[in-house]
């Protein structure tokens, strides 16, 4: 009995069906999302990353940060990402439209990083990242994040000490031998620039109207007397 044509049709149909449903439909459906202009800020969101941060994202990629950190904030009512301070709102598809590679991630050995640039900002944030990358134990005792010493360079001071030297930000036990200084490599600078730039802007009107908002407590109270009866 030659069932080969029937079998092959089924095999083909199965994969064509899911490809159409999951990939093609959504590609047509929302791959063309555009930034939305925000009147209050006078800018269109989401914004593009600055060039240094784009290079930093390449470091994020090649070191495999995505295997321990997500970049997606779950909405209110599903998980407690907002209470943990990982974002002011859940992530939406529009937030990612400028990204050549989207690193949503599937694992949270460490915290979500979608808005890490809001948590650690400016010079203080930069210092925090420098300490954290040099040895995560400095800022987070008991962390299992690896050290990223190879993003730093310990070199002998030639002539004037470099203005970029970072050892002054590190605790005493990490100081280099006399006559040496510690500087960030270019990759280290880029990676930190990327982390400082990671934060989502305000929502567009589309998403605001569609976001799921969990029902408030009062409703429950109102129904309680009825149940009591």
């Amino acid at each position: 009995m030659n069932r080969a044509p029937l079998i092959f049709l089924g095999i083909f149909f199965a994969i064509a069906f899911s490809w159409t449903g999951i990939v093609l439909t959504n590609h047509l459906g929302y791959a063309k999302l555009q930034p939305v202009f925000n009147e209050d800020e006078g800018k269109a969101f989401p914004q593009r990353l600055p060039g240094e941060a784009i290079r930093g994202k390449e470091v994020y990629r090649d070191l495999g940060c995505v295997y321990c950190h997500t970049q997606q904030v779950r909405h209110a009512g599903y998980g407690v990402d907002l209470e943990r301070g990982w974002g002011e709102r859940g992530s939406v598809a529009r937030d990612y439209i400028h990204e050549k590679r989207v690193y949503l991630g599937t694992m949270r050995t460490g915290p979500d990083l979608r808005n890490v640039g809001a948590r650690f900002a400016g010079e203080g944030g930069r210092d925090w990242h420098i300490q954290h990358f040099y040895d995560a134990q400095i800022t987070s005792k008991g962390s299992i994040m690896p050290n990223y010493r190879f993003l730093f360079e310990t070199r002998p001071i030639v002539g004037e000490p470099s203005p970029k030297a970072v050892q002054s930000k590190l605790p005493p036990q990490y100081q280099p031998p006399a006559g040496h200084e510690i500087v960030l490599t270019q990759r280290g600078e880029d990676l930190i620039a990327y982390l400082l730039a990671l934060k989502d802007g305000p929502l567009g009107p589309d998403e605001t109207s569609r976001l799921y908002v969990p029902k408030e407590e009062p409703k429950k109270e109102a129904s309680q007397p009825e149940a009591a009866k």
Binding site: M1, R3, L6, L9
Partner: protein, 72 residues
């Protein structure tokens, strides 16, 4: 999602898919492709390795393999 989409696009499409699946089964059944299914289970056996003979016994054997003669 607008309601018309549900009634005029999604529902007809779903019915079409179900109909094609039903037709496919009807066609297969008419061609006799669904008959004698259980016979298929036996095709991996033959005179060389018939039903009733296990073909892999390696562990927990006290006697060593015979020196000569093919075994399978």
């Amino acid at each position: 999602m607008p309601e018309w989409f549900l009634y005029f696009v999604a529902l007809p499409m779903a019915m079409l898919i179900v109909a094609s699946a039903v037709y496919g089964l009807y066609w297969a059944s008419k061609k006799g492709q669904l008959q004698d299914l259980e016979e298929g289970a036996k095709v991996i056996f033959d005179d060389e390795e018939p039903i009733g003979r296990p073909t892999d016994q390696t562990l927990h054997q006290t006697k060593p393999a015979p020196k000569s003669g093919p075994r399978f």
